[in-house]
């Protein structure tokens, strides 16, 4: 088992008091499995993804990655987990504006010390980015930028790819193409993937769906 949530709860503080976001979520994800997290805005799906990625911490319960409990680990250890086991793809792309496309793609793998030029070439080819490597992200279209983010995430050879509405900023046509390319590459590399999406259509393209409602899996 790659990722396991056991009775995970999380709430946020607001002026009006404590707002529970996750109220005891348990599920498991196997290696190589793809999973869609769906739910309405505010249902807690992004929070769940952030907790899985070590960007946020659970209030109670446990999160196990390859059998190791990661919630409650110090910043350093969490950073190591993100560097070596997990990659993230965001709706906002979060590319480094001052690095070229090529450098952005190599960046995470270089941080993790697992840079494999041949594999990077493969990803670049598969995503159709070969003509853009020396450009800066700001001149690329949204779809191209997200392809760069996907290449960057996969170049680090993660065991788990976490994606938060990766096509949310793209038009429908581009979104479909990017999603297809991404899922193909995920399958290709054997990584597991957990993706937050509000679209049932996209969810349908993944192996399994979990639906969150008011902080509970339904």
């Amino acid at each position: 088992m790659l990722l396991e949530f056991k009775s995970v709860t999380k709430s946020f503080q607001d002026q009006s008091g404590e707002i529970p976001v996750l109220r005891g979520v348990s599920f498991a994800l196997d290696a190589g499995e793809t999973l869609a997290l769906t739910g309405e805005s505010g249902s807690g799906k992004s929070t769940l993804l952030h907790i899985a990625g070590g960007l946020d911490t659970a209030d109670s319960g446990s999160v196990l990655l390859e059998g190791r409990k990661i919630n409650g680990l110090p910043d350093r250890a969490l950073a190591q987990v993100r560097r070596h086991q997990i990659s993230l793809v965001f709706q906002q792309f979060n590319l480094v504006p001052s690095l070229t496309v090529g450098a952005n793609i190599r960046f995470q793998a270089a941080l993790a010390g697992v840079l494999d030029p041949a594999f990077v070439d493969h990803l670049v080819g598969a995503l159709g980015l070969q003509d853009h490597l020396d450009k800066y992200p700001e001149v690329l279209s949204g779809g191209q930028q997200q392809r760069v983010a996907i290449a960057r995430a996969l170049a680090a050879k993660p065991k788990l790819l976490l994606a938060d509405e990766p096509t949310g900023n793209l038009d429908e046509e581009t979104a479909a193409i990017v999603l297809a390319q991404m899922l193909a590459l995920v399958e290709d590399t054997g990584a597991a993937c957990m993706m937050v999406t509000h679209s049932p259509k996209i969810a349908g393209q993944l192996g399994r769906s979990l639906h969150l409602k008011a902080g509970l899996l339904v």
């Binding site: 952030h50 990625g53 960007l55 946020d56 910043d75 350093r76 950073a79 190591q80 987990v81 993100r82 560097r83 070596h84 993230l88 965001f90 906002q92 979060n94 590319l95 480094v96 504006p97 001052s98 690095l99 450098a103 190599r106 960046f107 995470q108 270089a110 941080l111 993790a112 010390g113 800066y136 960057r152 680090a156």
Partner: protein
Amino acid sequence: MMAPALWALMSHWWRNPIQFFAVIGGLALATALWCGVQAINAEARASYDAAAGVLGEGQYDQLVPRTGDTISVEDYIALRRAGWLVTPVVEHRFGAVRLLGIDPLTAPAGFAGLSAFQDQSNSFQRHSVFANAKTAETLSDELDIVVQLDVADGLAIADISVVQSFAKAKGLSRLIILPNQPMTQPLLEEIAPGLKRLAANQTADVEQLTDSFHLSLTAFGMLSFVVGLFIVHSAIGLAFEQRRGLVRTMRSLGVPMRRLLVLVAVEMGVIALIGGTLGVLLGYLIAATLLPDVAGTLQGLYGAQVSGVLEFRASWAASGIALALAGTAFAVSGRLLQIAQMPLLASGKSRAWVMARGQRSKIQGFLAVALLISAAILAGITNTLFLGFGLLACLLVGAALAFPLLVSKATQVFERRSKNATVAWFWADTRQQIPGLSLALMALLLAVSANIGVATMVSSFRLTFVGFLDQRLAPELYLQVDTKDESAALDKYLTDRGFESLPLPRADIDVQGEPARLLGVRVGPTYRQNWVFLDQIPDPWTDVKMGKGLIVNEQLARRQGLWVGHSVTLRQDLALPIVAVVGDYGNPSSQAIVSESLFADLHPQTPPLQFGVRTNDPQSLRTALVQDLGLAHNAMINQAQIKSASLEIFERTFMVTAALNVLTLGVAGFAILMSLLTLADIRVPQLAPVWAMGMTRRRLALLELARAVSLAALVFAAALPVGLALAWVLLTVVNVAAFGWQLPMFLFPAEYAGLAAYTLIAAVLAALWPVGRLLNTPPAALLQVFSNER
């Protein structure tokens, strides 16, 4: 992991060279200012020492022959062996040069030219003659000349044996009495009846005056560095704001927080080192350009050993780089704290990097008011140097904090009053930019204030100093006699020949139980024209002349609380009103001045033994006095020469300080340029709607220029009172606290007008580049603002 992460951080500078230039340039300028001011201070100090060399022999009591103009070595030895600690001086004229032979073994520390020997570290050459480059040129080739910059013009110093053999003379010119004498010693008459003691000549002790000047320069040196730090701070602040997203991205990609903080610290450390090093080099260049006597070619020109040339001193460089590092650390530490506290998940977008509004500007306003009130209170009660600098800090920080708020308020008023929509928009848009410009505005305010302060302080000092020398050294020749008969004969001799003779009788008296010195003066044009008073009634000299009033020095006034209008009891039946208070810089003792005739009434047994004489030709009068009255050469001092030498030396210091203006304005202009450039990108979305509504780019550009000018005008309007307050605090508060007397403050409207022009020019020059960029912004870029909006 370090390498790619550091590379990603650094790539920001590669893509934003202007920001990089701003940070490096800001650091370099701040450091250069510091180093330049250090150098100027060093030069000023050297000038003081040289001036003291000219004036300084008068600091000590001296023994001179009663007749003739030499003292025998036997008399010298007899005095030494009787326990009189005296040191011999041999003076010889070589053309216009005074060749001074001293005995370094017995000369008191700080004695004229002794430092020349000391500077030769351990390679002392007994046979060398020390002179500055200009003087060295005119000296004989027979002498082994060592060029030493801090020797006064027209003076050459050597060991006594060198001067004696060069001048082929055996005797000594005079003996200087050291300040510390042993427990017991016989009377002078018993040992050397042929010698008489001349009291130290305190008329031209400028040491305290120059100390005060130096203190003020140091304060301005610090201030200029603070101005530089403002630039560094804003440039670094901007760079950090723009990299918030990058920091978050890097963390989400697995760079641990601690590692990231270390990386940023290393990165900024490297940048500080680069900027600091450039600054030190720049400061060195500035100093080398400013210091007129510095030329690396001296050695070749004079064939003499050169020392004292502006050296690249490790202490300078180290202090400059240390300041650059400390300044950067100060600017960065807050940002690092922000990174450490920044939640991983907050929006990656640039927060408005501008200074906070609302709540925060209220706090800022409150702080500014509190500081300014503290400054006002401190101004009333300050009596120590520490409080004085506290006052300066409150004043400057308070003014800087208040300024953006005031500008904001002003634009609001302008906006409300404007009838034209474009003008109203102009002011509203200006106000919108103030938070982004506020650090640059503060820097400019401080820079211009410092400039106004420097100009006021230096010029006031110069007026005071020149006036003081005019006043105290007005008589060209200064004579000393021994007896009442000689006194009367001399006065008659001078008056008969149409010279203005100024007898200077003096007696020790008590004023309200405190010791003071009473001086008598022969009121005449010399006094009327040359004396400048701190406070006076109209035409005080006439009252003095008629025996209806007296003048006291500032020391007496302050010590006893006696000012114009108070009266001083000179005899049981005689109390006179004070008609004027005179600044008497560097004189520790109290003095009261009355007319010659009143003095004679009060002290009939005390004839004037010292005289000042006005003459256009001191040299021939001197010769005549020796021939006709048998006065000893040593009893006559050529004050005209002393005066011109010391004025020349100080002129150099004044000239060099003028360079401070150029430096600080350069820095201020740079601050505006950098702020405008960094704002330029943010401006595009703000300008696009106005452009879309039909305003041409050209018009927009002109308005941008107008904005820079209006802001600069506002800065100057605020800087004038702040700068004057700064000068006032230094001259009348800090100086009194440090030295017990006040430097009068003069205003120089013409100089201020010039500074205002420079400020506006600096602002326009700084705005030109960003405005040019705006003019050349393609319409597509403006259009894109709309298409990018989501």
